[in-house]
């Protein structure tokens, strides 16, 4: 029977199993590298197929978690191994498994040293992030959420750029401090609520005074992870130093864990506190959008520019999450998915360019469109999607968010709108400087995308346009759980 099979556990632990399998490969270094890449790709593809099966079998009409598995893990503290999927986590799960496949493909050539370790780290990372999105137990969530730091630490530290050690430590410690404060909140929830199960905690009422304290613990963690201004300073460093695939995972998945966390913990469990602190979040989001966009305008490193654009886009997400209406919430979720796809694609684009030119300095490029026309076309799609052009996923996310936020806080909405204009400014400015210009292209040794790279980018264009043109399949699935969250958010 399909229904008895623990599908979610299979999805979570298949990559981990694959990582263990990788350690068994023996032989010459070259053979090991190839075998490791092939194995990792197969495992990632199988996981992706499984998540597609999950999507197919998922019933959007059902309220609450589906495919739930639950067993007591530490009976003394009623901590359970509880996993489940709802409309919100479904798309993050799809995103995670999809991006992992692309990352492994993208690292096929660019990673030369310790290939096996790299692939193993990636599979572990996939496993842990899938776990974080699927966990419906607070302690289990924390375990996965913080566990993600370990493989990412290795990925930045071993395969990163020049200042990789600084970046890895900053990333690790910054995020850890936030996480530990969240741990205290989780512990308090467990102790006062008497359970660590999310669905039971959602039904528990906590006094507003307590909520306000606990909310800050969660906020510390998710604000760093998202990242919100002024807790974003780790992000540019980590992005710039991480290898391409690492940046993709960071932007595509790890940042989403922050927004997802707000959606899973703060809004449904601590609704009064969320309302109380909403102005704070609005203010920080507004500042983040405008400030990060302005900073992005003056960047000379392409990767850093995109990193700052991530901060700006996540500002939309946090504002939308706390606007307390269905439009803004679904806008925020779509914006997260869209940003996961678009920023991943942009980082991949930068990575491909870097592999050719060995530099990311904007000034070093000119008229790249001439040697790389296909690349320029694809990059244009993602640039426009990042700006939020109608017809791309970015548009849906930003407009819905804006619509919703306008109802709650018009001032914030104005700031967000300003951010959209600035976003068009820095992205188009970047595109113009890199791709157009004088007749002769700079640097000289550029060549167009080859098959593998083409496939990677093209496969990202599809969902971006699809969500942009026909978002109903996504909206239909996410709306029901979001309404539940809103329902508990408005007393």
């Amino acid at each position: 029977m399909m229904n008895d099979w623990p599908l979610l556990s299979t999805i979570i632990f298949l990559p981990l199993l694959g990582a263990l399998l990788l350690t068994l490969i023996r032989g010459l270094e070259k053979d090991v590298a190839l075998a490791a890449k092939a194995t990792a790709l197969w495992v990632a593809c199988s996981t992706f197929v499984l998540t597609l099966v999950l999507w197919y079998a998922f019933d959007p009409q059902v309220e609450g978690f589906q495919f739930s598995e639950s067993s007591l893990w530490i009976p003394e503290s009623s901590i359970g191994y509880r996993v489940g999927v709802d409309g919100v986590s479904l798309f993050f799960v799809l995103l995670a498994s999809f991006l992992t496949v692309l990352c492994i493909l993208a690292s096929w050539r660019s990673i030369e040293k310790r290939v096996r370790d790299f692939m193993a780290a990636f599979l572990v990372l996939e496993s842990l992030s899938l776990g974080a999105f699927l966990a419906t137990d607070t302690v289990l969530f924390y375990l996965f959420f913080e566990g993600v730091l370990l493989p990412m630490f290795y990925i930045i530290g071993v395969w990163g750029g020049e200042r990789r050690i600084y970046a890895a430590f900053k990333f690790f410690l910054y995020t850890l401090l936030g996480s530990l404060l969240m741990l205290l909140s989780i512990l308090s929830l467990a102790w006062i609520g008497g359970t660590t199960s999310l669905s039971e905690l959602m039904l528990t009422e906590f006094s507003p005074a307590l909520q306000k304290i606990l909310w800050l613990g969660f906020f510390a963690s998710f604000a760093v992870k998202t990242p919100m201004w002024p807790f974003h300073t780790w992000l540019p460093d980590a992005h710039v130093e991480a290898p391409t695939a690492g940046s993709v995972m960071l932007a595509g998945l790890l940042l989403k864990m922050g927004g997802y966390g707000f959606l899973r913990f703060c809004l449904p469990i601590l609704p009064e506190a969320s309302q109380f602190y909403a102005p704070l979040v609005f203010a920080l989001s507004a500042i983040a959008v405008v400030y990060a966009s302005l900073v992005a305008l003056v960047q000379t490193d392409i990767k850093k520019l995109i990193a700052y654009s991530s901060v700006a886009h996540m500002g939309f997400v946090t504002a939308g999450l706390f606007a307390d209406n269905a439009h803004a919430l679904s806008g925020a979720v779509i914006q997260m998915i869209s940003h996961g796809l678009v920023s991943a694609a942009l980082f991949l684009c930068v990575g491909f360019l870097y592999e050719r030119a060995k530099t990311r300095d904007i000034g070093a490029f000119r008229a790249v469109v001439q040697p790389m026309p296909t690349y320029a076309r694809l990059m244009l799609v993602f640039t426009l999607a990042s700006i939020g052009l109608p017809g791309t996923s970015g548009f849906i996310g930003e407009v819905l968010t804006l619509l919703g936020v306008f109802k709650t806080s018009p001032a914030t909405a104005w700031a967000l709108a300003l951010g959209m204009i600035l976003g068009a400014g820095y992205m188009l400015h970047l595109y113009r400087r890199v791709f157009f210009g004088a007749k002769d292209a700079k640097p000289a040794n550029l060549y167009d995308l080859h098959m593998r790279e083409h496939v990677i980018l093209a496969s990202l264009v599809l969902p971006v346009l699809w969500i942009g043109l026909y978002p109903m399949p996504v909206l239909r699935v996410v709306t029901l759980p979001l309404l539940t969250i809103i329902g508990s958010a408005t007393p």
Partner: protein
């Protein structure tokens, strides 16, 4: 006959251990030196393991735990020593730890480049005597028994620290340890005499009764308690009684340090727990702030002082101080839950430390034992498996999920929150962020730095201990409740009396 039975039930393991130690001493004298050391060492490991298994078996035995214990407790010897579930639990840990330390110490003491004076069978005998002292400590129920146990293990440890006679640092460490240890003994004796003067009895249950009756008003009792606690704080190297720790750890032979940092900490912490719960519980308003301050100071000083260390042994010393600090949070709650968390933390800490020492004792740079952190650079190239195992241990030490160290910290923090010690929990969080920095720095040295020297790990058994501890901290996450349940049972006995 009844006297013998009671004696056996209270002190069976100790009697066997003492007799066997004397036999091993005889055996060592009869054999030639080269054979003696090896044989005595392996026989001792076997002895310790057998004793541990017997104790575990007797813990399962219903008949043993109920009826005989009540009669034994009433007897003379039973008032001094008590073999309850708590003592059993701690004794098993002490015995297993000692066996493991002897095993991983082999490769170090037998190394010709270290010192000739280390590789003698007397070293094993002294360790066994110290273990005997520890076993007495964990079941001590009177001030006299406490003092005998504590001094037996301390004297043996002083000798162990100074064992490398031809080495100036070792002698210095031994002397330093002895001087400061003697000071703490004096404090302990003074404290005991005040307690006796105030209560008129040396038994814990009598102290408990007296503290119940008029503990809050009796200054003499309270001063006696504080002095006793100070002496034990010295043994567990809690700040501000930690001064000796880094120097002794650095100077003493690594094999001794492995023993000092694991088994002796178990015994001293078990003693502290029993003393606090069984004798001083009514005075908890008085000792809670003291323990909380010890915890706070140890965490903060330990975390900050570890940062600049470049010597592995000094590093271990300061990181041990941090761990003791976090562990003392559990003590400071004065609840069964907090004590359980502390005991659980202790078990996991011991596992991690044993792995770390297995690595340290086996680490060789150009055939010479190495103590520099920088020597670990490139271990991920020369020995990937060991590097992976060591990084698992480091992550676990830092308390990161999904390793067992996380659950250790988790329960301590939970207990602190439940007892309204939120400020202490917050300080614990701060300390663990700082300490994470230096644990992941070791990972960085192994994985991110370019290898500079030819560093290898020798000794197959050490390698296995390293792997097994790493696997243990990874797998304990899957099933932490067994160990948790055992620690809970152990602690419940203390609170029941």
């Amino acid at each position: 006959m009844e006297v013998l039975t009671n004696l056996w039930f209270s002190l069976g393991a100790e009697i066997v251990l003492a007799c066997a130690t004397l036999l091993l001493l005889l055996l060592g004298l009869l054999l030639t030196e080269r054979h003696a050391t090896r044989l005595v060492c392996y026989l001792s490991i076997a002895l310790l393991l057998v004793l541990a298994v017997l104790l575990m078996w007797s813990a399962q035995n219903e008949r043993f735990s109920d009826a005989s214990e009540t009669t034994a407790m009433a007897s003379l010897i039973g008032r001094h020593f008590r073999l309850d579930t708590f003592a059993l639990f701690c004794k098993v840990i002490v015995l297993l730890t000692t066996a493991c330390v002897l095993l991983i110490g082999q490769v170090f003491v037998a190394d010709a480049s270290v010192s000739k004076s280390l590789y003698r069978f007397e070293y094993v005998i002294i360790i066994l005597l110290a273990t005997l002292g520890m076993c007495l400590m964990v079941s001590a129920r009177s001030l006299l028994a406490l003092y005998i146990g504590l001094e037996l293990q301390s004297l043996a440890l002083y000798i162990c620290a100074a064992l490398q006679r031809d080495n100036l640092r070792s002698s210095e460490a031994g002397l330093k340890y002895f001087m400061l240890g003697a000071l703490s003994s004096a404090l302990l004796l003074f404290g005991c005499s005040l307690l006796y003067g105030s209560v008129g009895s040396i038994y814990f249950d009598a102290i408990l009764a007296a503290a119940h009756a008029d503990g809050a008003s009796s200054l003499m009792l309270q001063v006696g308690m504080v002095l006793t606690l100070c002496a034990i704080a010295f043994k567990i190297s809690a700040v501000p009684f930690h001064m000796w720790t880094p120097d002794v750890y650095e100077g003493a032979p690594s094999s001794t340090v492995a023993f000092l940092a694991t088994a002796s900490k178990v015994a001293a912490l078990a003693l502290l727990m029993r003393l606090l719960v069984e004798a001083f519980m009514p005075l908890k308003e008085a000792w809670q702030p003291i323990i909380a301050l010890l915890a706070l100071a140890s965490m903060l000083l330990g975390a900050l002082a570890t940062l600049p260390q470049s010597n592995i042994k000094r590093f271990i010393a300061y990181s041990a101080i941090t761990h003791i600090g976090i562990l003392l949070i559990g003590f400071a709650t004065a609840t069964p839950e907090g004590m359980r968390a502390a005991l659980f933390y202790l078990c996991i800490y011991i596992i991690m430390s044993l792995g770390l020492f297995a690595m340290l004792l086996a680490l060789r740079n150009a055939e010479q034992p190495s103590e520099r952190l920088a020597d670990l650079s490139g271990l991920s190239h020369s020995d990937p498996k060991a590097a992976l195992a060591l990084s698992a241990l480091m992550f676990s030490m830092a308390g990161l999920p999904p390793f067992a160290g996380f659950f250790a910290k988790f329960y301590v923090l939970l207990a602190a929150l439940r007892s309204d010690l939120t400020w202490l929990a917050l300080c614990g969080v701060a300390a663990s962020v700082v300490s994470t920095f230096y644990y992941i720095r070791i990972v960085k040295v192994m994985y991110f730095d370019e290898p500079q020297e030819q560093v290898v790990l020798t000794g197959r058994s050490n390698r296995w201990v390293l792997y097994l501890t790493a696997i243990a901290v990874a797998l304990l996450t899957l099933q932490p409740s067994t160990l948790l349940r055992h620690s809970e049972q152990a602690v419940r006995v203390l609170f029941a009396s």
